[in-house]
Amino acid sequence: MIDYYPAAAEIFLATAICVVLLVDVFLRDEQRMITYWLSMLSLVGTAACTGLFFVDESVTTFYGSFIADSAAGVLKLVAYVAVALVFVYSREYLAARKLFKGEFFILGLFGLLGIMVMISAHSLLTMYLGLELLSLALYALVAFNRESATAAESAMKYFVLGAIASGTLLYGISLLYGVTGTLEITELAERLSGPDGFGIPALVGLAFIVVGVAFKFGAVPFHMWVPDVYQGAPTPVTLFIGSAPKIAAFALAWRVLVEGLGDAHSSWQGMLIVLSILSLAIGNIVAIAQTNLKRMLAYSTISHVGFILMGFIGGTDDALSAAMFYTVSYVIMAAAAFGMILLLSREGFEAERLEDFKGLNARSPWFAFVMLMIMFSMAGVPPFIGFYAKLLVLGSLIDAGLLWFAVLGVILAVVGAFYYLRVVWYMYFDDPLDDAPIVAPGSMRVVISVNGLGLLVLGVFPGYLLELCMRVL
């Protein structure tokens, strides 16, 4: 008898998506707001399901291939919030460009479903299914604006590279299956911990899996798709790609590397150190040269991924909580940062160049301040949440005896501070290039203000979120 309750949220969302899809077909263009509200309602319902069936101990179901535990619950809730932010921030932008179509929301929800499946995956196959569900939704979303050649180009790049990465991951999975005869994560860990567990074939499989993880995270040297996709995709889609899927990438690394292949920690630790250093260096240095804000944020993502990987390197539970905390705070920061681009955009104008932020303080002191908080938070300056994220992962490195790595990390963070500062100086020290008023609707203004202030509030009182991350892992 299969217990369906642990998967209640996924089942609800899948059903809700079908309903939204059906309703949307019968709607005229001017009624599209119904799709929007139905999608938001689906998110609320899904969140309610997750909340109602929240479990403190872990429960597996579907013959061990699906798991519900408290960490999964928390990660899913963060993902809902991120997707809800995406929908709120995107509405006006899409409407102004005649892109306000049901597909955006439906694909977004499918992507979310993929993320949820990945978070709760307890077998390599479930993980792969979730990953594909997410990726296919993302490929389609990137190409969502049919008129745009750059969007089509970046969708193509994303698809080809993503397919290769999926193939790599799948190949790694198949090697592990060949060695152990199982795909279920706990069993996998048990069989690999045996005396002849980690032979050469298993190690090769591990290497392929690390490559797949690195691609999904966008870690150097598997980062090539990130800047092009971030820049080429419509900004709402960039916002989507930049936020929620990072949670999925965290879940992938956590479930597969830590839970499944935890015994090989010493083997993948070295690989992650290399990935992390390269990501920090390339991400932070190349970001300095960017003039397009979306592209700059893409390289900034790469450098943040370097920090997230630091948490996995430590290997202890505390270190993993540090990575989780970093991921969650990064998702909140990224949502706010791309949200600001959407806020300043208007019909026929994309506020995606750095110069478009010039003199924002003269146009709107409040939103300049919100952007200032986002930038300083990303740079890791207290009292914003980004600081505690960095503090935690650095602490986990020093605890693991990797003092040199921590020092290298902070020095590269200082390099990175420069390009965040540049945004602040454009906003505060330069004169505006145009003084068109900001046209975003009230709901978006309120939500992004709360989003930005959240970085400060969570930075002054980080205790609750921190303890949550420590308790669930």
């Binding site: 300056v381 207290p382 303890e467």
Partner: protein, 505 residues
Amino acid sequence: MYVPLLSICIWLPIAGAIAVLVLGAQRRMELARWVALGVSVATFLVAVHLYIGFRWYPEFGGMRFVERVPWIGAFNAFYELGVDGISMPLILLTAFLTPLVVIAGWEVIKTRPAQYFAAFLLLEGLMIGVFAALDALLFYVFWEAMLVPMFIIIGVWGGERRIYATVKFFLYTFLGSVLMLVALIYLYLQSGSYSILAFHELPLGMNEQVLIFLAFLIAFAVKVPMWPVHTWLPDAHVEAPTGGSVILAAVLLKMGGYGFIRFSLPITPDASQSLAWLMIGLSLIAIVYIALVALVQKDMKKLIAYSSIAHMGFVTLGFFVIFATIANSQDEAGAMLALQGGMVQMISHGLISGALFLCVGVMYDRLHSREISAYGGVANTMPIFATFVVLFALANAGLPGTSGFVGEFFVILGSFHASFWLAFTAATILVFGAAYTLWMVKRVVFGEVGNDGVAALKDLDRREFLVLGVLAVSVLLLGVWPDPLVEAMDETLRQLLAHVVQSKL
């Protein structure tokens, strides 16, 4: 009734900053100014109240007005505040200067005045937080958060090359502090909490101490600033608006000195002792070489900036010469003198350099030039102002009877216990300091009226007179009667010295 006075000192200015911003957004500028002044004066009064309470039991050198509330359970970090003889004078200095800065910027600031005043109030709260924090994480949060308003102040209201200067300032100090962060995390992992006082008692091996000392050194040396990481200071000083320069010179630089005496000396006493030669050497280079650099400056603000570096060299010299003093003379009297001298020098330099920057500001507001050559014979048109300038210049040169003399004299006296030549080299500042300061005064204030601009100068208005007058009184008062200051820090420094001479190995 229990009143958290220290918290009020920190949060009242920050709340005031928000109020000023709101009023500014409603275009009620006049009210915003008065709110800024009222809040800063109120904070000063609270600080004075703290100081009076502080002086009740001079024989107690430990932390007072302690507040301790759990903050981040996961880190075992507390919102823990307290003051002792080291931090109390610095808090008073901060609270004393902020109202003066507000008054000095009263009508001068034309662009976004509300944001200007709000930034200074915010800065004040954060600076007091730095001095009052007893939890290293809290300390670090205040320490770093301070950079944000300072970055904005220099960048928005600064001079022509303000962006270069402010980014350089930010990145220099940020680089210094992140290395300190690594050291603090390490200490946390060793001791299980972020309590600074627990760090003081933590036993550490020599190698650990040296690494921690170096990490602290980079952070604090950038702030002080010590040669060779001083290059951000002349840029930042020159480009900052007058109020920014005042706060930068008077308080921000003191944070480096405070860091040495609160962190480096007590946490890593053995490393401090074995690396004292390095610190003394860098201090002497600052005193002699930077003084020579100051001599050739053409820009008044730059000259004062270099003079600040040289004078801060005395602070670090006083703090690190103590080991040689004790080794040489076997008693602690000389070491106490040096420590006291360093502390008095910090306070006195805060007042004098602040006053000098305000003087330059007064001239800049009239003629919009900082070049020495653009002036000449100012005394003819601005006699009252000239009197102030000469007074502060003499104080900067260390004239007996002014506060500048007390600190330098103590440090030189302490250094004599260590070595004659050391004291001799340090004492050259009395010559060089007099040379560059008085030469500047001669060229700017005295002589024939240089040009039409100077001929048309108007003397101080009441607002400027008030600001400079208050500073002049305090410089003279501290010069003839330093007892209230020295006594307040005496017992704390004695305990610190007793702690530092005990090896942790």
